[in-house]
Symmetry: C2
Subunit: 208 residues, 2 copies
């Protein structure tokens, strides 16, 4: 598209670099910002720049943080002997929003995927082992993607943790609450029968 | 949603102020930016701030511009005796992208709408009359929305231009190329018969 202003064209080009935003949407956003006060647009731009420039990653769990230690790791009311292992920051946000989990996290930063050139050394695995070696961690909850890469990563890390007296668990895999049997894939259905639990385990109760 | 970083939360909040962007999309955009180089994110934020702070509006046609006069008004190869009257900057971009129109524009900044409190004095009407009074304009092409407000605006401006020896035309209203008769509304269909033109007018030819 042709714009009569290079300033507009530049702003549109920057927006189109974002995922899922094409040129028409970018133009709509830019023309929206053009109608706002200069001060508000300045706040927008500065919040984004500041976020990228100043955000830190927690030295313990690699979650995003404003300080060296994230709010979760620094919170004395949380159970730091239980560590939930996730791939990304987004997973931490998803689990935190359930308001159920009171333990700590460890953000791997991805999963082992030789096709994409991601080996164990590119992930935050050694820092997890160090946490376990320090003797603080009693349980590691594996909350990775149920894919071959996820299983490979779990297998690799389990082996490393084997001699450290750490219990390894996995978040439950099965049929979603509200999910219908006939639309469930065979693998999930078969495994959900093999890993069945007493019915009272599925009754909603307050977390321990 | 809860974020472990106020910097992230602030950036997400700023993105959700944009039209059509909810909190989940905002988070996706922020986490995308978090993975980019600090320099690239700085470019993004600065392009947006600079756009809002430095963009000008053409003194002649009120289109967005980097200078006092926009590229179209400053272009000696365009026909400045023909002025296309549009509501917004977006309409200018849409018409420019057809690569057909070689005249000039006049951006009204809206249409007369008493319900929304928009009277003629809030629009760029007096500057259009001044352009016509200066004797430069031979034709004004009305390219406003085909609504009651649009018709009211056209009527109001036509009256003002009446004694200034300016021809007033309207972009063609009718059935879209590729549009099907049976799905066309009755008003458009009825008017398209009343305003029919010789067939050769619709054969594609290079613009004069």
């Amino acid at each position: 598209m042709k714009y009569s202003s290079k300033l507009i064209a530049d702003a549109v080009a920057e927006f189109t670099k974002l995922p899922g935003i094409g040129e028409k949407t970018a133009l709509r956003l830019v023309l929206h910002l053009l109608k706002q006060d200069t001060e508000k647009v300045k706040n927008f731009g500065e919040a984004v720049i500041r976020m990228r420039a100043e955000v830190k990653f927690c030295k313990t769990c690699h979650n995003v943080s404003d300080n060296d230690l994230c709010d979760i790791c620094a919170n004395p009311h949380r159970d730091h002997t239980t560590v939930c292992l996730v791939e990304t920051i987004r997973d931490v946000i998803a689990i935190e929003n359930t308001n159920i989990y009171r333990g700590a996290y460890h953000v791997l930063g991805g999963i082992i995927s030789p096709i994409d050139g991601i080996g164990p050394e590119k992930l935050n695995i050694s820092s997890l082992i160090q946490r376990a070696e320090a003797g603080e961690v009693k349980e590691v909850i594996m909350a990775l993607s149920p894919t071959i890469e996820g299983d490979t990563t779990i297998f690799y890390i389990s082996k490393k943790l084997r001699d450290l007296n750490v219990q390894i668990t996995s978040i439950a895999r099965g049929i979603s609450f509200g999910g219908e049997l006939e639309y469930t894939d065979e693998m999930t259905l078969a495994r959900s029968i093999a890993t069945r639990l007493p019915y009272e385990n599925y009754l909603v109760k307050s977390s321990g």
